[in-house]
C-alpha cells in the first residue's frame, strides 16, 4: 500500500511540472507584461520601469538563472504567490474564500449525490416503465436549460418576487441564510446530468450476468438491486464522487457571482475582470495539486471497494 502510494506520488511529479509549464506559458509567455495593470491610473514611465523591475517582467523568459521561468517555479513550489493587483496577498484572498465556497458547494454536492443516487436507484428499479421514461425526459430537459437561466429565474422568483430567501449576500446574514437558495438552485441544476449518469451506471450493472444468476437463485428484485447491483455500482459512483471533491474548493463561479457570496468562485470572476493573473495562476495551480491528490485518493478508494483491484 505505502509503496503504491509512493509510486503514485512520484507519478504526479511530471503532472505538476506540466501544470506549472502550462500556467507559465499562459500567464507569462502569452499573457505577458501587465505592469500597466499593476500601475493603475496616472502611471508615469518610471513607475512602469519600477514595476517591471519588481515583478521581473524585464527578465529573460527561459534560459537564465534569474529567468521568469525559474522564478515561476520557485514561487509555485514554495506556495509563494505574492500579492494580487489590489495589493492583498493572494493566499489571504484564497484562504478567505474557502469557507464561504465550501459552505456553498459541500451541501450542494452531498445533496446532489444523495438525491440523484436515490432517484437513479428508484428509476433503475422501475426501468422500462412510464416513470423511468418520465424521469429520463425530465433529466435531459433539465440538462438542456442553461445554468444561468436556472439561477436567474430562481433568484428572481424565489427571492426577489416572493421573498422566500435573501436576494443577495449581505454581511449581517448568517451563512445558512445566504447559502440556502444558491444551494437549492445548485442541486436542481445538477440533478439532470447526475441522475442520468447514475442511471446508466445502474442499468449497465443490471444487465450483467451475475444479476441473472442472483435472480436464478430466487432472490427478490429488491435484494438483487440493493445488495448485488448497488455494491457493484458503488465503484464508478465513488470515483466520480471523490474526483469531484477538489472542485468543491473552487466554489461555484456563477452562483457566487449572482448571490455575491465572497467565495473563491467570486474571487475568480473578479480576477478575470481585473486581469489579475496572479490570482488566476495561483488558483489554477492549487486546484491542480488538489486534483492530483484526490486522484490518488480515488484509486485507493477503488481498491477498498473493488476486491478485483489490489494495491501493491
Amino acid at each position: 500500500m505505502a509503496a503504491y502510494i509512493i509510486r503514485r506520488l512520484l507519478y504526479t511529479i511530471p503532472i505538476v511540472f506540466g501544470v506549472l509549464l502550462l500556467t507559465f506559458i499562459l500567464f507569462t509567455v502569452v499573457g505577458g507584461d501587465i505592469s500597466f495593470e499593476i500601475a493603475g491610473k496616472n502611471a508615469t514611465p518610471e513607475t512602469i520601469r519600477e514595476i517591471r523591475e519588481e515583478y521581473g517582467f524585464n527578465k529573460p523568459l527561459f534560459l537564465a538563472w534569474d529567468s521568469q521561468f525559474v522564478r515561476h517555479f520557485k514561487d509555485a513550489l514554495t506556495f509563494n504567490f505574492g500579492r494580487a493587483l489590489d495589493r492583498e496577498p493572494v493566499l489571504d484572498k484564497i484562504k478567505r474564500g474557502v469557507i464561504p465556497s465550501l459552505s456553498l458547494t459541500v451541501p450542494i454536492f452531498f445533496g446532489e449525490v444523495v438525491i440523484s443516487v436515490a432517484i437513479a436507484l428508484f428509476v433503475a428499479f422501475l426501468r422500462g416503465t412510464v416513470w423511468d421514461i418520465v424521469a429520463v425526459v425530465l433529466c435531459v430537459a433539465g440538462m438542456s436549460i442553461p445554468y444561468l437561466s436556472f439561477i436567474l429565474f430562481g433568484q428572481y422568483f424565489l427571492a426577489y418576487k416572493w421573498g422566500f430567501f435573501p436576494v443577495f449576500f449581505s454581511p449581517e446574514l448568517s451563512i445558512p441564510q445566504y447559502v440556502a437558495l444558491p444551494v437549492i438552485i445548485g442541486i436542481v441544476t445538477g440533478l439532470g446530468s447526475n441522475v442520468r449518469f447514475y442511471r446508466t451506471v445502474m442499468l449497465d450493472e443490471m444487465r450483467a450476468d451475475y444479476v441473472r444468476t442472483a435472480f436464478a437463485k430466487g432472490l427478490d428484485a429488491r435484494r438483487v438491486l440493493f445488495r448485488h447491483v448497488l455494491k457493484n455500482a458503488m465503484i464508478p459512483i465513488l470515483t466520480t464522487i471523490v474526483l469531484a471533491i477538489p472542485f468543491l474548493f473552487l466554489g461555484s463561479l456563477l452562483l457566487e457571482r449572482f448571490f455575491g457570496i465572497p467565495g473563491i468562485g467570486y474571487l475568480m470572476v473578479e480576477a478575470i475582470g481585473a486581469r489579475d493573473y496572479f490570482v488566476i495562476n495561483a488558483m489554477t495551480y492549487i486546484s491542480a495539486i488538489l486534483f492530483v491528490i484526490f486522484n490518488l485518493i480515488t484509486d485507493i478508494c477503488y481498491a477498498l471497494v473493488d476486491p478485483r483491484i489490489s494495491l501493491g
Partner: protein, 316 residues
C-alpha cells in the same frame, strides 16, 4: 464415438447481426433513423445550422431580409411581447426575436469551431498515441493528464482571459475567436483519451496486422484503416460536446469574455440579469428557449447516436 463432436458457430445473444453487405455504420444509421424522435431532433439541429449559415450569407451579401437585421428598431424601447414583436424589444427597441435568431449564429459558430479544433487535436493525437505507444504515447498521455488535472471551467477561463483581445502573430483574437479557441484548446482531452483506448484495442486486430504485413505505411494504416473504425466515437462525442460548448459560450460571454456588440444568447441572458428589475423578462425567456431547444435536440440525438453506434461507450 463422437466425443470430439463439432460446434455450430455460436454466441447466444439476442441482438442480431446485420444482413450481408451492410457496414456496421450503415446499419447503425439505419437503426438510428428508424427512431422518429431521433429524426425530429436531427431536423431541429439541421434547422439551427441552416439558420446560422443563412445569417452568414445574409451578412456577406447584405441581403435586406427582415429577421437577419437585428440592429433595426422595430418598436419602442423595452416593448413587451406583442403581435409585431413576439419576444418584445430591448433597450433600443430592437426585436428580441431577431436577436435570438442572430444568437444562433454566434453560438453555432463558437460550438462548431471549438468542436473542429478539439477534434483536430484530439483524434490525431489519440490515434498516434494508441498506435505507436512508447515514448510518443507517454508524452501525449502526459499532456492530456496535465490538462485534465486542472478543473475544466478554470482552464477554459484561464485560456479565455489570456487569449481575449490578444494579438498573436498579427492576428487579433477578437471576442468570439478567443472564446472558441479557449474552448477548443481545452476540451480535446476526453476525445483523445477515448480514441487512444479504442486504437489500442484495434491495433491488435487482424485487419491492422494484415495491413502491416503487406507493408502499408503507418500513416496510411492510421488514417485509411484505423480511423474509419473508431470514427463513430468522434461522431458521438461531437454531438454530446456540442451542447456543452454552447453552454460554455453562454457562461464565457456572461463573464464578459465573449462576443461583445453582436447579439449572443449569453449576452442576452446577461442583459436580462439587470433588466429583470424593471420586469423585462422576455430577453431572458427568448434566449433560454433558444438554448433549450437546441440543447434538448442535441442531447437526445447524441444519446440515440450512441445507442445505435456504440452502446457500450459511456460518456458523462
Amino acid at each position: 464415438m463422437l466425443t470430439r463432436g463439432f460446434h455450430l458457430a455460436d454466441n447466444t445473444q439476442t441482438e442480431f447481426k446485420p444482413p450481408k453487405g451492410v457496414s456496421l455504420w450503415q446499419d447503425g444509421f439505419r437503426r438510428l433513423f428508424r427512431r422518429p424522435i431521433a429524426v425530429i431532433c436531427f431536423a431541429v439541429i439541421i434547422f439551427y445550422f441552416a439558420l446560422a449559415a443563412f445569417i452568414y450569407l445574409a451578412e456577406i451579401f447584405h441581403w435586406q431580409i427582415g429577421f437577419t437585421l437585428w440592429s433595426q428598431a422595430t418598436g419602442p424601447s423595452y416593448q413587451p411581447p406583442c403581435r409585431e414583436n413576439i419576444f418584445g424589444t430591448d433597450i433600443f427597441g430592437f426585436s428580441v426575436f431577431r436577436r435570438m435568431l442572430y444568437g444562433a449564429k454566434t453560438s453555432i459558430t463558437v460550438a462548431l469551431c471549438a468542436s473542429i479544433i478539439s477534434i483536430g487535436i484530439g483524434v490525431p493525437l489519440g490515434a498516434v498515441a494508441g498506435y505507436f505507444r512508447g515514448i510518443v504515447d507517454e508524452i501525449i498521455v502526459w499532456a492530456y493528464s496535465t490538462l485534465s488535472s486542472i478543473p475544466y471551467i478554470l482552464l477554459i477561463m484561464a485560456f479565455a482571459v489570456v487569449l481575449h483581445d490578444k494579438t498573436i502573430a498579427g492576428f487579433k483574437l477578437s471576442g468570439i475567436t478567443s472564446v472558441y479557441l479557449a474552448i477548443g484548446l481545452t476540451s480535446w482531452v476526453d476525445l483523445c483519451r477515448l480514441i487512444r483506448g479504442e486504437t489500442i484495442k484495434h491495433k491488435e486486430r487482424e485487419y491492422i496486422l494484415a495491413a502491416q504485413s503487406y507493408g502499408c505505411t503507418n500513416s496510411r494504416i492510421i488514417f485509411k484503416h484505423l480511423l474509419p473504425n473508431v470514427f463513430h466515437i468522434v461522431i458521438i462525442i461531437f454531438s454530446l460536446q456540442f451542447v456543452s460548448f454552447i453552454h460554455a459560450e453562454i457562461i464565457l460571454s456572461f463573464l464578459g469574455l465573449g462576443e461583445a456588440d453582436k447579439p449572443s444568447w449569453g449576452a442576452m441572458i446577461n442583459d436580462a440579469r439587470i433588466e429583470l428589475a424593471r420586469g423585462v423578462w422576455w430577453q431572458m425567456v427568448a434566449a433560454t428557449v433558444a438554448v433549450f431547444v437546441i440543447s434538448l435536440a442535441l442531447n437526445v440525438f447524441g444519446d440515440a447516436l450512441r445507442d445505435s453506434l456504440d452502446p457500450k461507450l459511456r460518456v458523462r
